[in-house]
Symmetry: C2
Subunit: 377 residues, 2 copies
């Protein structure tokens, strides 16, 4: 901005939603707000785990026939916040594995809890974390035979940043791996509704997953709730620590001690999201971003780049073999004034890639793609 | 409820707000909700530290001329949540002191972070925590000459549960004590607006406090936001760890990693709270609860009980010398069907007291007091 004060910068960087929230959802939040001014409609402290009706709606919308009950759902102010609360449950003495590359919050929260060793500058990794390499060579699914046993496995599918989604067969292997090792999978499904392929949208579609996995998700990217703040975590009652005590019991204690429930207004919005009208409105918003994704994929493909992701997630993962992510990022920013994200920011295996987010107004996406074409033609 | 299925139970227990939120505040939240459906009014991720305008309004409303800048304010989803985030900053290797009795979240979050030793059943205390006894004998302000040095001192004034508020002279001693010991005070001022006496409403009214204290507060009890969720924490830039690094830098890292900002709709509500109309509406709500408090104080006083608190906080602390808190609680519940809180639940020095909350509809307060009079006449 200092260098080119007149530049029209377009951000396809941090993946922040840009499209208005459908009326049916904001009307419900406004209605709940107004109701709080009435004797009948006022409510104070709610259940820390979330309102019963919302927990039931999340269960029936996302986990029907998967053996998940509404008592397994913990409503929250977002997946990122729940990831940290989970880390507080796990404490500082656990070992963890992450996909490499992956959403930085897993590693950052692990560092903060003191689970890791020092950062090793030369390899770009924290000691004591297992980095599960996900690259085009392995179809973005880690070679589990090379991964050491850990207590916790963070796994995000569809993945941020690679945009790839694990298949049923791959997730079945992951669940078996966790079961064999006595590991707990923290499955992040925040982009599940972006799936086009017939891959599982929840880890609980895999038999046996309830004994080894919990799942976190969010309305942020489905309904533009990045600012409204509403997510949830599923902790199945079958998920036990090695001593036989339920993980849900400890998570419940953390939720009740360290959190006081999500905003009742945001919860009213989430409930509206799951009404028939809300679901169809959410699908429209998601469809819009998916069209953006296709425009970005087609642009880079037409320029001869190897492009990954984009089909099952709102992120496009573009390969610049042999180049540094930061150099490519700077080149694109300097020459097109479009902000992307350097792949190495998500882990060492992200080196040589950039992530392009599909969250943006259509005219910005089209303009950015026009500039990409001028740069790389 | 099982024993007396037809009983009209009145809860003056957990201190949950009951009165509707003033229109001027809910209208602002509804307006923000609707705006999220428009291109111009939509916003996604906000600053994790809160919206600039709200941070400025909090500064000018509560900390004018106290040397606090808007950059020192961290907006949150509530004081309880911030207390836990602070504990994550402090980690498991610190020692802490609490008022005895006090709001249970301080000790509970300390236990969860692993700061304490085992619970000692015989004395009702966790090992490694300094319990600072606050009783009628010391005017509910601890005898600091008997308190061992700790890294962290939790201090709530006006106090929950005793309802007592520390004087300027007492807080000056507390600040000196912290400075002499190199301790950090976590000052909880969530009830400051209930103050009738001319005591400080913020620890930062005490000279030198910015070097030893941070402060957490909330709109929960001011505007009935227990369900809406909006609070804040002040971390002055002058507050440093022993190695000279700012506490605010670490807290900011936790806020950015473990939290994604408070709901934008709740923030719009908070901003409305701090408008001239909002402030006057909040004072009305607070005034209503203060009238409730007076009714409860007068009732127990007229029955010959020694009654504490109530003047500077919405809690009445009633003494039943020589009796067990739980016995009194059970007697009141069984015979009047009014829920109170046994004082020993707030710490061993709460034994022999019950806390009566003034949050309730007027008819319930009057009815509860009528029943108290029948029981103890």
């Amino acid at each position: 901005m200092l260098k080119y004060p007149d530049a029209q910068v377009i951000s396809l960087g941090i993946g922040d939603t840009t499209e208005p929230i459908p009326d049916v959802i904001t009307s419900a939040m406004a209605k709940r707000s107004y109701a709080l001014s009435t004797l009948e409609g006022y409510s104070g402290y709610g259940a820390e785990q979330g309102e019963k009706q919302l927990r039931a709606a999340i269960t029936s919308t996302f986990y029907r026939d998967l053996g998940i009950g509404e008592e397994d759902i913990f409503v929250s102010d977002g997946a990122k916040c729940d990831i940290s609360r989970l880390q507080v449950v796990f404490g500082s003495d656990v070992t963890m594995a992450v996909q490499d590359p992956s959403y930085p919050a897993y590693v950052d929260s692990s560092v903060i809890m003191g689970q890791t060793g020092q950062f090793q500058q030369d390899i770009g990794k924290y000691a004591k974390i297992q980095y599960m390499k996900c690259t085009p060579e392995n179809g973005f699914f880690p070679d589990l035979s090379t991964v050491a046993r850990t207590d916790i496995i963070f796994f995000c599918s569809p993945n941020n940043p690679t945009g790839s989604a694990a298949t049923r067969e791959q997730l079945t292997r992951l669940v078996k791996f966790a079961k064999d090792n006595g590991s707990i999978i923290v499955y992040d499904s925040a982009y599940a509704m972006y799936m086009s392929d017939d891959n599982p949208q929840s880890i609980f579609e895999i038999p046996g997953a309830r004994e080894v996995a919990l799942e976190t998700s969010s309305f942020s990217k489905y309904a533009g709730f990045t600012g409204v703040r509403l997510g949830w975590t599923v902790v199945p009652k079958e998920l036990l620590f090695a001593d036989g005590s339920p993980v849900a019991k400890d998570f419940n204690r953390i939720v009740c001690t360290c959190f006081n429930g999500a905003s009742n207004i945001a919860q009213a919005g989430a409930l509206a999201c799951l009404s028939p009208e809300g679901l169809s409105a959410m699908h429209e918003v998601i469809g819009f971003y998916k069209e953006n994704t296709k425009i970005i994929v087609d642009t880079f493909s037409s320029l001869g780049f190897k492009v990954y992701g984009g089909k099952n997630a709102p992120y496009v993962w573009v390969h610049f073999p042999g180049r540094s992510s930061w150099d490519v990022f700077s080149e694109i920013l300097g020459k097109t004034h479009v902000v992307t994200t350097p792949g190495s920011g998500f882990g060492p295996a992200g080196e040589g890639f950039i992530r392009v987010s599909a969250f943006g107004h259509r005219n910005n996406i089209l303009e950015a793609c026009k500039r990409f074409k001028q740069l790389y033609k």
